[in-house]
């Protein structure tokens, strides 16, 4: 376990800012205590200082997970967000997509969101903007990337892909063994 280097922090923030913009600041400066990002086994964990200090008692090879996993660095030093980060992305999300009950299941099985499954979308969403996906009952389901702008969404046919799937809460079952 170690703090992120400047480069790693930058890579991660760039990815996070696609979803929550400058709200990252709220993750760093929290009124309820000190929280920090730590790298362990190529994964980035968001941990409170208190838990971090407790975790130092556990040897490196025995430590599987700690705090909340935000994602992992690939071997080529790219950052991939994990579904476990959803709890922190959802409240601060800048661009949201609501999925109709009909399209919910398809999304939770790891498919992209079609226009037919789209309930609502935040206005002004640009193409390839990171979006957080909600059910119509405002339950966060996952996140993805907008394939079309809001304007284009209105014009495309119902089978066109509107949001590219990136992660959804179905991952908890599908990727149970690799999620930490």
């Amino acid at each position: 376990m170690r703090p992120l280097t400047d480069e790693e922090t930058k890579t991660m923030f760039e990815k996070l800012s696609k979803y929550i913009g400058e709200n990252i600041k709220l993750l760093i400066e929290r009124p309820d205590g000190t929280y920090c990002f730590r790298l362990h086994n190529d994964r980035v964990y968001y941990i409170s200082e208190k838990i971090l200090k407790l975790a130092t008692n556990i040897s490196r090879d025995k430590l599987i997970s700690i705090g909340t996993c935000f994602g992992k660095f690939t071997k080529t030093q790219l950052f991939r967000l994990a579904i476990t980060a959803l709890d922190f992305l959802a409240p601060y999300a800048k661009f949201k997509v609501w999925v109709k009950p009909g399209g919910e299941q398809s999304f939770l099985y790891g498919n992209h969101i079609m226009k037919s499954g789209l309930g609502r979308i935040t206005e002004n969403t640009a193409q390839y903007q990171g979006v957080v996906v909600y059910s119509m009952a405002d339950v966060p389901l996952g996140f993805g990337v907008a394939a079309k702008t809001t304007q284009e969404c209105r014009r495309v046919d119902p089978m066109a892909i509107v949001v590219f799937h990136q992660a959804d809460i179905g991952d908890y079952i599908r990727n149970e063994d690799v999620l930490t």
Partner: protein, 374 residues
């Protein structure tokens, strides 16, 4: 008294004389063993301990050594002698006693890369005769090397291959190829030596191969860049050049539990830089805004113009999309959905009233949305 004393003196003088010029014949109980080649003599006679203790030890040893040396010299002069430039010399025979060597035996030669490979693959050397019959010269010649048989660099005529450039000098080509092979061989020989002595093989430089890989080229560039008087410190790099990886520089990390406020400040600084990098005018955003305004304008025009019936005419084009009509987009969140889900099929309630012209299409959509609900 005096005579007696004179006799004594004479006797003593004689004895001294005898002592000084000892006889060349020495009596020994057992004959000595000689190894003249090594200038060696073994005395196997027992040393009388009483003798050794009664006389002066030094004296005893000296006389013993003298006697044995005498015997050895006698043995040497038994060999045939000859005179070389006023000096009489003896030719010593072959040594018979095997002596242990001074230095440890040399270590076996480290195998070359080829030998290692051959051992791995089980390739064995085949003995070939050194001489082969040369048909041209009608004589036996060496298989390889100087004046070898079938020496292709010594041919007076070479047929130009069909697919070769006719202007190419085939003789020069052969000579060059030969030189290239020799150079490569020499390079490999040096590499083998370096490997055997565990010296660092000169890395970086381009090895004489036909095609260099990308990794080899990058390494060569990195080595060349660092090979300046200042070890590459002032070397300029190309605009998008990446820093060399795996240069043996150790990464340093911040402590796991260090200054948290400092860490936070650092992260905020990074955020600030990230934020400042964004362009002032977001082109896609601007275009979107323009498109939205156009939409709004056309919508309001439609409302002003033909009135309610005109809207109806607008519907068919969009109504198919499964979303409710155009009216749904006027809200802040793009597609206003709530009304749409009050019904059973996910078709908009609003559309129901206005798009009355298309009820069959609405019905068609119901079955499509149903499977999704399962």
């Amino acid at each position: 008294m005096a005579a007696c004393s004179i006799e004594d003196v004479l006797a003593k003088a004689e004895k001294d004389e005898a002592e000084r010029l000892k006889s060349i014949t020495v009596q020994k109980e057992l004959d000595l063993e000689f190894d003249t080649g090594n200038l060696l003599a073994f005395d196997k006679n027992r040393v009388d301990v009483r003798d050794f203790k009664s006389t002066s030890k030094e004296e005893f040893l000296r006389s013993l050594a003298r006697d044995n040396t005498q015997l050895f010299i006698n043995e040497v002069w038994k060999r045939p002698t000859e005179r070389i430039e006023d000096v009489i010399v003896v030719k010593l025979p072959e040594a018979t006693t095997p002596l242990p060597r001074e230095k440890p035996p040399p270590k076996p030669k480290a195998p070359t890369k080829w030998e290692e490979f051959a051992k791995l693959k089980g390739i064995q050397k085949k003995k070939k005769t050194n001489l082969v019959w040369d048909e041209v010269h009608k004589e036996w010649k060496r298989r390889w090397g100087y004046q070898r048989a079938k020496d292709d660099t010594k041919e007076w005529l070479i047929e130009v291959p069909v697919n070769a450039d006719p202007n190419e000098d085939q003789f020069a080509k052969r000579n060059n190829a030969k030189k290239e092979r020799v150079a490569k061989n020499e390079f490999n020989r040096l590499k083998n030596i370096a490997r055997a002595q565990k010296l660092p093989t000169p890395g970086g430089g381009l090895v004489p191969t036909a095609q260099q890989s990308k990794a080899e080229l990058t390494q060569a560039i990195n080595v060349a860049k660092a090979s300046t008087a200042s070890a590459g410190k002032f070397q300029e790099s190309l605009p998008k050049e990446k820093a060399p990886r795996n240069t043996g520089k150790k990464r340093k990390f911040q402590p796991l539990i260090g200054d948290f406020t400092d860490e936070r400040q650092k992260q905020l600084d990074i955020l600030k830089v990230l934020g400042s990098k964004k362009p002032r005018i977001d082109m896609t955003k601007a275009v979107n805004k323009q498109m939205r305004e156009d939409d709004r304008e056309s919508a309001s025009n439609a409302r002003k113009g033909p009135g309610k019936k005109g809207r109806k005419g607008n519907m068919p084009g969009k109504g198919r999309g499964g979303f409710k009509g155009k009216g749904g987009f006027s809200g802040k969140e793009g597609f206003s959905g709530k009304g749409g889900f009050s019904g059973k099929g996910g078709f908009s309630g609003k559309g129901k009233g206005r798009g009355r012209g298309k009820p069959p299409k609405g019905q068609q959509q119901n079955p499509r949305s149903k499977p999704g609900k399962r």
